[in-house]
């Protein structure tokens, strides 16, 4: 059982223009930096990207947007990216904005083999248009469908060659659910460890969900909103 690939090129083998790709991360936190940069270099285009956010203009998915490699974005919030807003308002970019909880659940359900489920989020809004409505306990719910992807690309803190992953802090976010939902799931990690080094009792993503794993060359880990207090503050 060896899912370790040599680097980002081997990890992305087979990823082609026109595919549907899930990318983990929340804002710039926990995004697969190495894979995104390589996708820019590869020049694949017409991509459908499923990711909670779309990066910023010069980092993360923003880099793919700048080069018009993305045909459609499926996200919940894109407020930090001017180029995104411009492409969307001009109609260059197809956008499917969906509630963040529905996005997370749709990925999880995709990985868990649940093709559809009911959720209250979005009822009575444009998100609910055309969707089946059913009442449970007197409350309206929408039928939402599961999401899967040709490739799911996630970023973890540590991982082993069985594909077992652990994340650090809130860099976990969408990564575990998306890892479940990829036909091929690629994990890039800060540190590749030997099987057995990760405590089996405390693994966030079981290796079964991961097909390829590699240690990223470097991580910039850019901070979007650096908010601090000074030592004098309570």
């Amino acid at each position: 059982m060896n899912k370790h690939v040599k680097g980002v090129s081997e990890a992305l083998a087979g990823l082609e223009s026109g595919m549907t790709i899930m990318l983990g991360g929340f804002g710039l936190c926990g995004i697969p930096e190495n894979c995104i940069n390589k996708m820019v270099e590869l020049g694949v285009n017409n991509l459908t990207c499923i990711s909670n956010n779309a990066g910023v203009d010069d980092f993360g998915l923003g880099l793919l947007l700048q080069k018009h490699q993305i045909k459609k974005m499926i996200s919940s919030y894109v407020g930090e990216n001017d180029e995104f807003e411009r492409q969307m308002l001009s109609g260059e970019l197809e956008v499917d904005l969906i509630p963040q909880g529905s996005l997370a659940a749709r990925c999880y359900m995709g990985g868990a083999g649940v093709p559809a489920f009911f959720t209250p989020a979005g009822y009575g809004t444009e998100v609910g248009e055309g969707k089946e409505v059913r009442y449970f306990n007197g409350k309206p719910h929408l039928l939402e469908s599961a999401l899967t992807a040709d490739y799911a690309i996630v970023k973890a803190w540590k991982g082993d060659r069985f594909g077992n992953l652990v994340y650090k802090g809130t860099a976990r976010n969408f990564n575990p659910a998306m890892a479940m939902a990829g036909k091929i799931t690629i994990a890039e990690v800060e540190e590749l460890v030997e099987p057995g080094e990760l405590d089996p009792n405390f693994i966030h993503t079981p290796g079964i969900f991961v097909q390829r794993i590699f240690q990223g060359d470097k991580y910039e880990k850019r901070i979007e909103q650096r908010t601090v207090r000074t030592k004098s503050e309570s």
């Binding site: 959720t119 209250p120 809130t170």
Partner: protein, 217 residues
């Protein structure tokens, strides 16, 4: 009249000991600064943390520890990290006792609009649609009027909705109002604000019964 901090301060009075609370971006974030000392609440941020603490000291920021506003934060003792699917399981499953959100418009039946201005601004709904559709106890924190001076408390929202019939209470720079079957019911006036001023700034149906007390801040 209250400023943004005043609104936050008034909302902080709503918190009950032992509650789990989700604070939206903007004025709601400020609420954390005014929780009474004897009230223990745990803040959830929907990107995946319970027990969010204050901003880190300068130099101690961790790119892997942020809140839903993408700000660097800290974790308090007893905090807990989880993934987005679990986070919204908490929200959708009604395990959060209070949600505070900003809004662009609120209607007098409790509809809220806060994510989109057609043709102009489309940031996305983020977690707001899940929060408003799920929470039993939703408080909106906002200014009573927009920059043009038009009321944000309306008979009907003009912008695309975030949720329907979900807001329970609105706290503005002018007043505290509850959503009832008959419209906005005036509960409290901001310090120095008259009932007439509130009437003039409220487009939706307004119910005024008896003497309206001034907020205690």
């Amino acid at each position: 009249m209250l400023d943004k901090n005043g609104i936050a301060q008034r909302i902080a009075q709503e918190m009950k000991d032992g509650w789990y609370v989700n604070l939206g971006i903007g004025i709601p974030t400020l609420v954390a600064n005014y929780i009474p000392e004897d009230v223990n609440v745990v803040f959830q941020s929907e990107n995946g943390i319970l027990g969010m603490g204050p901003f880190p000291y300068d130099g101690e920021e961790d790119a892997d520890l942020i809140n839903a506003g993408k700000q660097t934060i800290t974790a308090l003792p007893g905090a807990c990290i989880f993934d987005s699917a679990t986070s919204f399981a908490m929200i959708r499953g009604q395990h959060i006792q209070m949600t505070v959100l900003g809004a662009m418009e609120v209607s007098d039946n409790g509809d809220i609009a806060n994510w989109k201005i057609p043709g102009r601004m489309v940031k996305g709904m983020g977690g707001a649609m899940d929060l408003v559709a799920s929470a039993d106890n939703i408080i909106v924190a906002m200014m009573h009027t927009n920059k043009k001076g038009h009321s944000k408390l309306l008979r009907q929202c003009s912008l695309p909705l975030t949720g329907v019939s979900c807001v329970k209470r609105v706290v503005t720079n002018l007043a505290v109002l509850d959503i009832t079957d008959l419209g906005f019911k005036l509960i409290e006036r901001a310090p120095g604000v008259s009932v007439d001023e509130i009437k003039n700034s409220t487009e939706g149906r307004l119910i005024i019964e008896g003497e309206i007390p001034e907020m205690k801040i």
